[in-house]
């Protein structure tokens, strides 16, 4: 079987563009990542296994990936609603709200963390009303979830928004004239159109949340086994000059993130390829 890399085309530049892309990709992504693996290889297999299966590390994986996933899903639902409202309705202050969506993106993460902590602490604006209900947000895993949801929101809104904007209203009207109610129109007509973009948004929010450090450490309380995230554990190991241990945890995060990203990409490819194939 021949693999044809270069297809004849009237537009020049394929070789140059491909070459540059590979070079740049190596420089920016592959070399630092392989450095991670090289550093880790200083550990023997047993040592490596001990580091990554340490109960404290496992607890941190659960919190990091679990809270990131839940946060991304929450953003999937509410981000879509925000995008819908911003696209479909015109109300005073719409452009202000539209600009505010980017705030979690633009705000230094430490500022976000401190702000969230002061609001959700037991004497804070919101925390003081949740306290009597027995809900404690700051310095618990719930606080981690709040921070990770906060920083992931723009990703979902910004990926879903343009797709909604392009969504042909006639398609919805067609569904209505055929007798579909609002709910049926939404599930059978709108959601399938949004699905690929929504998946991308959720994946990006998830990826961002997995790597988040600054905003979480303030609100998490960082109790080992309870509210400690993996990036913090890596940071702790670095401060103890345990570079190999830190990179071992980094490898775990990298592999898990890569596998999840791959799954999401496949899902996305599958859901959009169904009706795009010519």
């Amino acid at each position: 079987m021949n693999i044809i890399l270069k297809q004849p085309s009237v537009l020049p530049g394929f070789s140059l563009a491909l070459g540059f892309t590979l070079f740049y990709f190596c420089l920016i992504v592959l070399i630092p990542l392989s450095g991670l693996f090289v550093k880790t290889s200083g550990l023997s297999w047993d040592q490596f296994w001990n580091v990554i299966t340490d109960p404290r590390a496992v607890a941190s994986y659960k919190l990091t990936f679990g809270a990131s996933l839940v946060g991304a899903l929450i953003n999937g639902v509410f981000g879509s609603i925000i995008a819908w409202v911003l696209v479909r309705y015109h109300f005073p202050g719409r452009s202000v709200v539209d600009a505010l969506v980017d705030l979690p993106f633009a705000l230094p993460t430490a500022v976000a963390g401190i702000t969230l902590t002061s609001i959700y602490a037991s004497n804070g604006w919101i925390g003081r009303y949740l306290e009597p209900l027995g809900i404690q947000v700051a310095f618990t895993p719930l606080g981690v979830l709040v921070a990770l949801t906060f920083i992931g929101l723009p990703f979902v809104v910004r990926t879903v928004q343009p797709v909604l904007q392009d969504l042909d209203r006639e398609v919805e009207e067609a569904a209505t004239t055929l007798g579909a109610n609002r709910w049926q129109t939404f599930w059978a007509v709108v959601v399938p159109e949004l699905w690929p973009a929504l998946l991308t948004g959720i994946a990006m929010a998830f990826a961002r949340a997995v790597g988040e450090y600054g905003s979480v450490i303030f609100i998490a309380g960082n109790m080992p086994m309870k509210s400690e995230i993996t990036p913090l554990l890596i940071m702790t190991k670095l401060e103890q000059y345990d570079y190999a241990g830190a990179t071992a945890l980094g490898v775990v995060m990298l592999v898990v993130s890569f596998v999840l990203a791959l799954i999401i990409n496949l899902l996305q490819w599958w859901s959009s390829a169904r009706h795009m194939n010519q």
């Binding site: 006639e170 398609v171 067609a174 007798g179 579909a180 109610n181 399938p192 009706h275 795009m276």
Partner: protein, 355 residues
């Protein structure tokens, strides 16, 4: 289903899209709403479907008022200009959509739905395409799928919004003949919106000519073409020569007129405008009566069933379009530069406000 549109007015902001429109459509008729873009024809169609609400006025379907009824209760099929197919569904699923969203009590069995889809796809001659996606079909095929989808719910009224507007000329011609045959088979009341006068005149039982939110004329294709009620209808329904100026001797409607072009002699705030269709102009090489207009042949286009000529009037240097049969053209042996004399076989004079 008979339709009664009763004094309907619709505004978008300060712009009046429909101005006190009245229309009656009998059951089983195929009506064309014809007009330039922005004349309100699509808005009227959307009001009938329930996709828009009129600001004033009422809509009756089959004698019952539906002005405030929801779309889903009106039993109306709507076909969109850009098809509006569900692109993530196969052709068969698209056609079945109207049946599958019915409440469980009214929904036919899965086998019955399948059968119905097969029947409809046979009707629109797309049996082989059932498992394809809309992106794999041509424009004409997509619109036929959209039509089958609309027919699946057995609507009493079929509304078509410029259904062939996005298709190329040849497919458009085929499809509108096919639509006419389909209408004759199904006897469903249909309203077709179009800006193409040829399409309206060919397909419809009656044509409703609209202009700036008003209905200018309602009539059979013959009526509106032969006896246009207003200058607008005359101009919109085909090529026309407009002679600003009056017809001397006041013998309006008879054949002995001298067309004095471009000289607006009237001092009142109205003046007369004479309309003559290109094929209603007779040409001769010699002056036979003094009433004839002298002109020079500028351009000859011999492609098609009729020969199209462009002449320049001697008095006013205005362009005049003339259509001749091939026989007559051969008889006259015309060449560019020849001097000819014009004589209208039929003309219509309107009084219009002077601008």
């Amino acid at each position: 289903m008979s339709i009664q549109v009763d004094h309907v007015t619709k505004r978008f902001g300060t712009f009046t899209v429909l101005n006190d429109v009245n229309l009656h459509v009998q059951s089983g008729e195929l009506i064309a709403l014809l007009g330039p873009s922005g004349c309100g024809k699509t808005t009227l169609l959307r009001i009938l479907a329930g996709l828009e609400r009129p600001d004033q006025g009422r809509i009756f379907l089959q004698g019952a008022e539906v002005t405030n009824q929801r779309i889903t209760e009106r039993q109306v099929g709507f076909v969109f200009q850009h098809y509006a197919l569900f692109r993530h569904m196969t052709v068969a699923d698209n056609v079945a959509f109207g049946l599958t969203v019915k409440p469980r009590a009214q929904r036919p069995s899965a086998a019955r739905i399948q059968e119905k889809v097969r029947e409809l796809l046979t009707l629109v001659q797309l049996q082989a395409m059932a498992d394809r996606y809309p992106s794999q079909l041509s424009g004409g095929q997509r619109q036929r799928v959209a039509l089958a989808r609309a027919l699946a719910v057995e609507p009493k009224l079929l509304l078509l919004d410029e259904p062939f507007g996005a298709l190329d000329a040849k497919v458009r011609k085929e499809l509108r003949r096919w639509l006419r045959r389909l209408h004759d088979e199904l006897h469903i009341t249909g309203i077709l919106v179009t800006h193409d006068q040829e399409e309206a005149l060919e397909v419809a039982d009656r044509v409703v000519v609209m202009h700036q939110g008003n209905i200018e004329q309602i009539g059979t294709p013959d009526e509106v073409y032969e006896n246009p009620a207003t200058p607008f209808v005359y101009q919109f329904l085909g090529d026309v020569n407009v002679f600003h100026g009056r017809v001397s001797h006041g013998h309006v409607g008879k054949a002995e007129h001298h067309i004095a072009s471009s000289e607006v002699e009237s001092l009142s705030d109205e003046h007369e405008v004479t309309f003559v269709r290109p094929h209603d102009l007779e040409l001769s090489l010699d002056r036979t009566t003094p009433a004839q207009l002298e002109a020079t042949v500028q351009f000859i286009n011999g492609a098609g069933a009729r020969v199209h000529l462009e002449l320049e009037s001697k008095d006013s240097a205005e362009m005049i379009a003339v259509e001749l049969t091939r026989e007559r053209y051969r008889e006259l042996k015309l060449q560019p530069g020849d001097v000819v004399f014009l004589y209208p076989k039929q003309l219509q004079v309107f009084r219009v406000p002077t601008t």
